[in-house]
């Protein structure tokens, strides 16, 4: 009865496109509203955005920096997808990143006698486990004592920052820095323990075409930039987590608990276990974000005393990227790149136009508002075609926007 006619195929494709457009529209809308702020600062918004775009993707190095910024955001966002799908609102990405980085850097500094790849492997594992356990605290408290995870993860963020400050001024302090006016940072990790830089050799045809467009670099794309293999790890992780969520029983149970805790309990699913597991995976991903920052970019753990000093807010931006990506790990990949671009572009805008880069924080907020409201639109469309097709994307933000409310009542 319900076979697929060409007409229906077109309709399906159309619907899919239409489901993603609200997200793009919300991005544009956020930028339009932000332009009001720019005008208020007597800056030409068009010029500002041009400068921003230029700063984000204008040159080979700019594009590489965008991706470098996107890496920790993607790690965190992938984890947030699992947590939010499981009905756990994890706001602790920052703290979990720090926990992962502390564990990862410790392993990298201690296990120096091992071959490089093994140091990297152990260091990544330590980062994942530390982030997972740290998030697991909040998961455990929620699952067994009904402690609100939003509050507990935020508080755990503070504890992580202070622990980092303590350790970086104490046992983990770079021995060469010991003195009264030291910068809190660890020693540099061995060169073998560093994640290699990432580059690709462009085929001649593409390189020729790019040169025609004014591309000034060498055929070795990204060879002289800071882009590192963390990007590949993050994308692999996104694919793995996508499979986990939608292809395995583990993901099925997490999603079932996130959508309806009661029905899951009645069906014999062990609810507390799924909550802790969702938190565990989310924290592990954030932990990887932290350790990859160390192994791939900074080669040491360093801070200015605040969380942002190390994480650059990736723990929070990851949440925004996850929502923007429709709480789908694969959607989080382009979403993270967009946010990486916004952040890098904002720096350039600040230099060129004298506009504070903090403006981009406001843009982030606006994007969240518009994304959430575009869901209303998508849902109304979905209701209209409800009988025809299994809707998927209209409940993208439902989990994030509605579930926590329901669970708190």
């Amino acid at each position: 009865m319900f076979f697929s006619s060409p007409n229906q195929t077109i309709r399906k494709a159309f619907n899919r496109i239409f489901d993603t457009t609200p997200l793009l529209i919300s991005l544009v809308a956020a930028l339009v509203v932000a332009s009001v702020l720019l005008i208020a600062m007597s800056t030409d918004p068009l010029q500002a955005y041009r400068s921003m775009l230029n700063g984000a993707v204008g040159t080979e190095n700019a594009f590489a920096e965008t991706l470098v910024k996107a890496i920790p955001i993607l790690f965190v966002a992938v984890g947030i997808c699992v947590a939010f799908r499981g009905g756990v609102i994890n706001i602790g990405g920052e703290g979990q990143m720090i926990a992962g980085a502390l564990a990862g850097v410790s392993v990298a500094l201690i296990a120096t006698s091992l071959p490089g790849p093994l140091i990297i492997l152990f260091s990544l594992t330590a980062g994942f486990v530390a982030g997972a356990l740290y998030a697991g605290i909040a998961g455990f408290l929620k699952a067994y004592f009904n402690v609100n995870e939003i509050l507990s993860t935020i508080m755990l963020n503070q504890i992580a920052v202070q622990s980092m400050n303590y350790l970086l001024n104490g046992v983990l302090l770079d021995p060469t820095e010991a003195g009264t006016n030291h910068i809190p940072k660890t020693a540099k990790i061995l060169a073998e323990a560093q994640l290699p830089r990432f580059s690709i050799t462009l085929p001649d045809a593409i390189y020729g075409a790019l040169q025609g467009l004014g591309f000034a670099g060498t055929p070795e794309l990204f060879a002289r930039t800071r882009l590192h293999y963390g990007m590949i790890i993050a994308i692999l992780l996104a694919v793995i987590i996508y499979m986990l969520l939608w292809r395995t029983t583990i993901g099925y149970r997490i999603r079932a608990v996130g959508e309806n805790e009661n029905a899951s309990r009645y069906a014999g699913i062990h609810v507390p276990r799924q909550i802790i597991l969702a938190m565990f995976i989310a924290g592990g991903c954030a932990g990887l974000a932290g350790v990859v920052q160390v192994l791939g970019l900074q080669y040491r753990l360093q801070t200015d005393g605040s969380a942002t000093g190390f994480t650059a807010n990736a723990g929070f931006n990851g949440i925004v990227a996850a929502l923007f990506g429709g709480l789908n790990p694969l959607g989080a990949i382009p979403a993270s790149a967009v946010f990486g671009g916004l952040l890098v572009g904002a720096q350039k805008m600040q230099r060129d136009m004298g506009v504070p880069a903090a403006l981009i924080t406001a843009v982030n907020g606006l994007i969240v508002i518009f994304t959430v409201s575009s869901q209303m639109f998508a849902r109304r469309r979905a209701r209209r075609r409800a009988a025809n097709e299994p809707p998927r994307s209209e409940r993208v933000l439902d989990a994030a926007v509605n579930t926590p409310m329901e669970q708190q009542t």
């Binding site: 395995t248 009661n262 699913i269 075609r385 409800a386």
Partner: protein, 520 residues
């Protein structure tokens, strides 16, 4: 010009809907339906879930727009584009779910969204006065100054009726108004409705409960699959006739219960006590047993421990005392998954809350607890979606579930079809013990009959069935033994055959069986 009602608003002498058509993508929800209602009349709109009753009425109330057809009010054509338009035209609707702000008083709720006669200053004293007048006239017994959270469900409904009257409703659409009421409250409601029609109001009564339709209406229109089957005067109609019109084929209101082999006790509950959600004693020293091939019906007024009992047996609620055995094995205090592995299936009372994950597809819901078993998993943790979909297709066919397919979110299905899926899921594991809590509540006649037959089939297969229901007809039609509960205790256990309904009623009101026997 037409006459005015005692409420001071314009009367609707006749409202006519002609050739109304409403299409949803892929579905013709309402197909050229004619419907009319006159002043002083209660016109019942009867049909199974999904027959198009609610859709038709939502068009009249402006929540949907019809694709074809006209609405004529006192012989003048009107376009109702929004609920606001409807109210302007004197059409009001009482929804199944009440829309009151709990912290506000009755008067504040009624004044909400209306212009104050004093501009920006509140005129709640005037509103209260008018509420008292209306309340008195229609015997609504509504106090204007009480916060609505303090009101019982029946009272909240009366506030909704009052709000509609206050806003000038001359025609009132009541969408399954009795679904949430106790029998006593239903009687009260009917008195109010009769008074309203006597005053010249026109009422449309949406329902699928036959005896209520017969008791209250003057005419009945039956809808089936979006089409009008017929409109007949209520006088002379019978339950059987109406049921057949609704379902489109002869129906059985009583079942044959063949003699089946009765096995040993599958479930034994011994002196079990437990707390309810409020932390009070919900079950006191409760003991009962169910044998294989036996249906034990649990009767009682809602909230007398039936829900707690089902949860305790399923491992979902901790015990404070006593012992539960399934097939002779002690399962006291074991987790739901352990209890399920012992062969217990459970149809929960609140299917949308406890039974299904409403944003999951039909197929995903089918495997809610068997998702980890073969053939639904391949290679340890990877789900085999082909096998799940095949199983779902099979369930859709075997249980006659009406759905566009296995990949549709289950929330798009009607209540009866969702319940059939829950049933399919629970019976798929060939249970030793089936706990069926309110298995047909809110389910249409066709599906109810189907579910009852499935329960009897399970009984014949040798399953022990604990049937919890507030519907005494259901209990009597299916049970081999009837247990009556009152305040967490068992008042008595009687054979299901030739049960004395008075005796049951007395036990439900809290008189133990031995005392009932003494009295008679």
């Amino acid at each position: 010009m037409s006459a005015t009602l005692p409420t001071g608003h314009r009367r609707i002498d006749q409202l006519e809907m002609r050739g109304i058509v409403k299409r949803f993508p892929g579905v013709l929800a309402v197909d050229h339906v004619d419907f009319d209602v006159c002043s002083g009349e209660i016109h019942a709109l009867l049909g199974e879930n999904g027959a198009g009753k609610s859709t038709l009425m939502k068009m009249l109330y402006g929540l949907y727009q019809q694709d074809e057809g006209v609405v004529r009010l006192n012989n003048a054509e009107v376009r109702i584009r929004s609920p606001h338009d409807a109210i302007q035209n004197g059409v009001g609707m009482i929804h199944q779910h009440f829309m009151l702000v709990p912290s506000l008083t009755v008067a504040e709720n009624i004044a909400l969204g209306m212009k104050s006669s004093r501009g920006w200053r509140l005129d709640l004293d005037l509103v209260s006065k008018r509420i008292r007048e209306l309340s008195e006239r229609y015997n609504l017994k509504v106090e204007p100054d009480i916060p609505t959270w303090q009101l019982a469900v029946g009272e909240q409904q009366r506030v909704e009726i009052l709000r509609a009257l206050y806003r000038g409703a001359a025609l009132l659409i009541l969408d399954e108004p009795t679904a949430v009421l106790t029998p006593q409250e239903v009687d009260d409601l009917f008195v109010i409705l009769k008074k309203m029609t006597a005053d010249g109001h026109a009422l449309i009564f949406i329902s699928h409960k036959l005896h209520e339709v017969l008791a209250i209406s003057q005419r009945v229109t039956v809808l089936r699959d979006g089409r009008r089957v017929d409109t007949i005067p209520t006088e002379g109609a019978t339950r059987l006739k109406l049921a057949e019109m609704m379902v489109g084929r002869p129906v059985v209101l009583e079942y044959e219960r063949p003699e089946v082999t009765v096995y040993s006790d599958r479930l034994q509950v011994r002196n079990v006590s437990a707390l309810n959600d409020r932390g009070e004693v919900g079950l006191r020293e409760l003991s009962l047993s169910v044998a294989g091939g036996e249906i034990v019906g649990v009767a009682g007024v809602s909230g007398n421990g039936q829900h707690e009992m089902a949860q305790v047996i399923a491992g979902l609620r901790p015990l404070t005392g006593g012992k539960i055995e399934i097939n002779g094995q002690d399962v006291t205090g074991r987790s739901p998954s352990v209890v399920r592995k012992m062969g217990v299936a459970y149809i929960p009372e609140e299917r949308m809350i406890d039974g299904v994950v409403k944003d999951f597809t039909v197929a995903e819901n089918l495997v809610l607890h068997d998702h980890g078993r073969k053939p639904f998993v391949s290679q340890r943790i990877f789900m085999n979606f082909k096998a799940i979909r095949d199983a779902c297709q099979e369930a859709i066919r075997a249980y006659e579930i009406k759905t566009p397919g296995p990949d549709v979110p289950i929330k798009n299905l009607s209540g009866g079809n969702i319940q059939k899926l829950v049933l399919a899921r629970e019976l798929a594991r060939q249970p030793q013990l089936l706990i069926a809590a309110q298995p047909t509540r809110g389910v249409d006649i066709g599906a109810t009959e189907y579910i009852h037959r499935q329960l009897l089939k399970e009984r014949a297969r040798g399953t022990a069935i604990l049937l919890i229901s507030e519907d005494l007809d259901e209990i009597r039609a299916l049970s081999d033994r009837i247990v009556v509960m009152y305040e967490g205790q068992i008042m008595g256990i009687v054979p299901g055959k030739d049960v004395n309904i008075r005796q049951l009623g007395a036990m439900m009101a809290g008189t133990p069986l031995d005392k009932v026997a003494e009295m008679s």
